[in-house]
């Protein structure tokens, strides 16, 4: 098993390096094609009163006066050494910005993932178990509607309901505006809505998948056998049917990273959550290329890692892949 795993991981990594090179090259080509002058963008209104000499100096400092190929090689060289340049909108090194914000994104996203998994399993199993009942119709109907509804719209409705009408929870941010220190309870209270919305928005496909695959599994002979042996219905569903129905879903989960990133960008922005995903929007609004490029690269790495994780999970979980090497 370890050999098959190692071979696949090596194969994937061999593809990752050229992939990242292509992605970074593409980003630089797009930046080159951009009609915007980053120096003017950076200065904003001050561009009118800034002397050409100062602007030329900034250009030189950023290395913009050199050929684009040279800029790319320099950027790549710095990247390898862990230097991602300075964020032009936040006026700090990109590494510092990401380092400060990544933790908040990981916290929110991992909580959302756990919540989504637990809720989809329970609700999906419930829908499959009571197939074609009103409960099933309500669940699948909501799931389809959720799939079609934009997550930022759901987030706004949730804010209106829980923060404005009921006033149970804060509408956004990380802490209370008046807070001077980071209190765990305060952060937790601010986390509930964004995490719940992110989990809800990502849950449809998994819930429908669990339902569908459980319905198929419930027809199988071994489930019939378990029932015939007089096992409790809950034991049949949880211990026998669900276990075998879940196998392929782990690979699907890893392949859903792009959707998770998209969801995080929108949810973090609506709830003013200070993570890396909402930073990409701020960087884009300010045409802050160094930060935006670094965040795009980070997201690409997350997608590649997700795919690798999914494939390894499959190799570990399915003895057929392990033994025969088929995938």
């Amino acid at each position: 098993m370890t050999r098959a795993l190692a071979r696949m991981a090596a194969w994937r990594l061999a593809f990752t390096v050229p992939l990242l090179l292509v992605v970074t090259l593409g980003m630089f080509a797009l930046a080159k094609a951009s009609p915007f002058d980053p120096v003017r963008q950076y200065l904003g209104d001050r561009a009118v009163v800034t002397s050409p000499e100062v602007m030329a100096q900034i250009r030189e400092n950023w290395g913009l006066d050199r050929p684009v190929a040279e800029q790319y090689v320099t950027w790549l060289g710095n990247l390898v050494q862990g230097d991602l340049g300075d964020s032009r909108s936040m006026h700090r090194p990109v590494v510092e910005v990401i380092g400060e914000r990544l933790g908040w994104t990981l916290l929110a996203v991992s909580c959302a993932l756990v919540l989504m998994l637990a809720a989809s399993l329970v609700v999906g199993a419930l829908a499959a178990w009571r197939r074609d009942s009103w409960l099933d119709r309500l669940i699948t109907g909501t799931a389809y509607a959720n799939e079609a509804a934009p997550v930022f719209w759901i987030a706004l409705i949730v804010i209106w309901l829980f923060a404005v009408q009921l006033q149970w929870l804060p509408p956004g941010g990380l802490t209370d505006p008046a807070a001077t220190t980071l209190q765990a309870g305060d952060v937790l209270r601010h986390m509930i809505l964004p995490v719940a919305v992110l989990a809800f928005s990502q849950s449809s496909w998994l819930l429908l998948y669990v339902r569908e695959s459980l319905i198929t599994t419930l027809r199988e002979d071994f489930v019939l056998g378990a029932r015939a042996r007089g096992l409790r219905e809950r034991t049949v569903i949880v211990r026998h049917a669900l276990r075998s129905a879940l196998l392929p879903f782990i690979t699907l989960l890893g392949a859903r990273i792009p959707e998770l990133v998209t969801g995080a960008i929108l949810v973090e922005t609506v709830f003013s959550w200070p993570g890396v995903a909402s930073a990409s929007v701020q960087a884009a609004l300010a045409a802050d290329f160094p930060l935006l490029a670094a965040l795009t690269l980070l997201a690409t790495l997350a997608v590649v890692a997700g795919n690798l994780l999914a494939d390894s999970a499959y190799v570990i979980a399915d003895p057929r892949v392990r033994v025969l090497g088929v995938s």
């Binding site: 593809f15 992939l19 292509v22 992605v23 593409g26 980003m27 797009l30 930046a31 094609a33 951009s34 009609p35 915007f36 389809y144 509607a145 799939e147 079609a148 509804a149 934009p150 930022f152 719209w153 706004l156 409705i157 804010i159 209106w160 923060a163 404005v164 009408q165 509408p171 198929t216 027809r219 990273i257 792009p258 959707e259 990133v261 998209t262 960008i265 929108l266 922005t269 609506v270 990409s280 929007v281 960087a283 884009a284 609004l285 045409a287 290329f289 935006l292 965040l295 795009t296 997201a299 690409t300 997608v303 590649v304 795919n307």
Partner: protein, 288 residues
């Protein structure tokens, strides 16, 4: 095969037994009529600012209420749907065209060309689409063209995959061998033999792409990276509405969102029905 056999039960799709497809078709027709007829018939200006009527809750005079500068939300939703629909259609067309050409080239040429094209597809798929779209819009000015380009450039990969896999199965069919022995050129085989077979697949992919493209337009506009703020698009309207949401004005963002949800849901119900009927095999291939 008896009627109770599992595969036999699967053959009758759930959607065929429900009336939802009629409701879905009705919703689509109603929305299309609203988008086409209302701007031609109603003599009201959707840009009309009336500060005395600002932030009014839904009432008989303004069914969907008014926004923060007193514009009628219902009227603006219809105009917004028109803009979003138009951009969604063009963006879907762009991405399907690029995807079809790329898929045809990969499937027909094979070999190194196929490998290169499919690696490019992998590359595009490994950057989250919305982030890629944000990247493109950020470097070019936020405009309809930038939004169309960002959706078109990120979403062609799905169509390319579908077209390529179909071409690969078509390549082995006897009539293609016959055409080759008959002296047909590669281009002629593509035009006369591949394309006609691909049309149903391309059509289905296009229909599914439209709601997706609308979603992207609204998401970009909502983030302030899409259409210019004065243009009524559904995303801009939700963004505008979000500003007065904390004051309790739910209608200015609720209704525009509902008009994204309705056509998307209607199209997915119809596509599901059609797919179940036409070809159960497609179910897994076309998940967007």
């Amino acid at each position: 095969m008896t009627a109770t056999h599992p595969t036999a039960r699967r053959a009758a799709p759930e959607s065929a037994r429900r009336p939802s497809r009629w409701i879905a078709a009705g919703v689509l027709v109603a929305l299309a009529l609203a988008v086409l007829v209302v701007p031609a018939v109603v003599q009201l200006d959707q840009q009309l600012v009336d500060l005395r009527a600002a932030n009014q809750a839904p009432s008989p005079a303004h069914l969907f209420g008014t926004d923060e500068v007193g514009r009628d939300v219902l009227l603006r939703v219809i105009y917004g749907l028109r803009v979003s629909l138009l951009i969604g259609l063009v963006a879907a067309l762009v991405s399907i065209t690029i995807g079809t050409v790329a898929g045809l080239a990969a499937g027909t040429l094979g070999g190194a060309a196929d490998r290169v094209i499919m690696r490019v597809v992998d590359g595009f798929n490994s950057v989250p689409h919305l982030l890629f779209g944000i990247f493109i819009v950020a470097l070019f000015s936020p405009s309809a063209t930038a939004v169309i380009a960002s959706v078109g450039l990120t979403h062609w990969t799905t169509a390319a995959r579908i077209v390529r896999s179909e071409v690969l199965t078509l390549r082995g069919r006897p009539f293609v061998d016959a055409a080759i022995s008959g002296g047909s050129s590669r281009l002629r085989i593509v035009r006369r033999h591949f394309l006609p077979h691909l049309i149903p697949h391309i059509a289905l992919a296009s229909v599914l792409m439209v709601p997706h493209a609308i979603w992207h337009e609204t998401a970009l506009s909502f983030l302030g990276l899409g259409l210019p703020p004065h243009l009524a698009s559904l995303g801009n309207m939700i963004n505008d509405g979000a500003r007065s949401l904390l004051a309790g004005n739910w209608w200015a963002s609720l209704f525009p969102g509902l008009f994204i949800l309705l056509p998307t849901l209607a199209i997915s119900v119809l596509v599901q029905y059609w797919r179940d009927r036409a070809n159960p095999r497609w179910r897994s291939e076309l998940q967007l």
